[in-house]
Symmetry: C2
Subunit: 211 residues, 2 copies
């Protein structure tokens, strides 16, 4: 018997940065959204600092006036999503080591990598665990059931440095310029605030009237 | 008998620019949202070019990569909102004259000014009527039941030039840095995509967990 092909069942591509508050909020709902629509999620840790080069943009909070609004909006968006949130300090932070740990894990077990990503985002955005500080990151890895020494070795390993660079290049080539960023069957959605559009798309495809 | 004071029934402040696609989409739902919650809407025509000075930002479509995404997103957002939309060309345009006509009308009859705003936004974003072209704007005014000569005189009148300048200054002082921008009882909401947060706020106030 021939296998029945299910078109349009590709995984949701989910790009995030460990220092992005809206990525954190999205990380708390993305798996549930995917599950509701029979999809899997492919997680991609990327560096916003690299992706900003495409657009000439900079971190949200570096913009006067808009930055102050953004802090209010991220707190409010988390509250509306029912997700605990405490704006960390310092913010933003370097997420290069955390991202390399992610890609190291991802090469072994994508589920475990996604679990680490969720735990690390939660740690930073609810308990102020500075992922940019090697000692704090190592402790978090240990607390998450990883081998802390192996994690530390991984973030210093040229192999995972190169993998992260490739991941950033691939994201840029896919048009990713911010985070969270999602791609569903080729359709891009940028921002935690596009959850509903993405769900409607997963449910019914393009809205009426869209070319 | 003393008048009963209804706290929290201040009008929704709605800031828009005639060349802002997301302002156009919001202009199609803002009155219905206000009506559902027993509010009025106070419309404010402003110039994004002026407000961008606060943040150092520029028009969305001027950013590479993000600009291309934005065009897709505005079309998709309109479709999801059930609002007809055709990306105009040229875009963006100068909206200074249209904004002065708005404030001239607003001084006489705020309802009529809001009606003109809706008609002008629809004309630009569905029929490619270039509001930056004096002849096209005058024709639109006539088609909207205004005295075209009086409208033309208004946009050249120092009184309405000054009024628009004051409106921009007031918006900037209120923290407005983009459009559409809404203020509900002191709480700011930026973007067409904040409709649901604003409605939830109008219904129940701050979400649980927000300080």
């Amino acid at each position: 018997m021939e296998e029945i092909k299910l078109p349009g069942r590709a995984p949701i591509q989910f790009y995030f940065d460990f220092s992005s508050p809206y990525s954190y909020i999205a990380s708390e709902w993305i798996e549930a959204v995917a599950a509701r629509h029979g999809r899997r999620v492919q997680w991609h840790a990327v560096l916003l600092g690299f992706l900003f080069q495409s657009t000439g943009l900079k971190p949200l909070v570096d913009y006067p006036v808009k930055g102050e609004y953004a802090v209010r909006d991220m707190q409010r968006s988390a509250a509306f999503a029912g997700v605990p949130f405490t704006k960390p300090e310092p913010f933003p932070i370097s997420t290069v080591n955390a991202a390399r740990v992610f890609w190291w894990l991802q090469s072994q077990d994508p589920q475990r990598a996604a679990g680490f990503a969720r735990a690390a985002l939660r740690a930073y955005f609810t308990r102020n665990v500075n992922l940019g500080d090697p000692a704090a990151l190592k402790q978090l890895c240990t607390d998450s059931g990883l081998d802390g020494d192996a994690a530390e070795a991984a973030w210093g390993d040229p192999q995972w440095k190169a993998k992260l660079k490739t991941a950033n290049d691939d994201a840029q080539a896919a048009g990713v310029f911010g985070a969270p960023y999602f791609i569903v069957d080729g359709e891009p959605f940028w921002g935690n605030d596009r959850q509903q559009h993405m769900e409607a798309w997963l449910q019914s495809g393009p809205p009426k009237g869209l070319n």
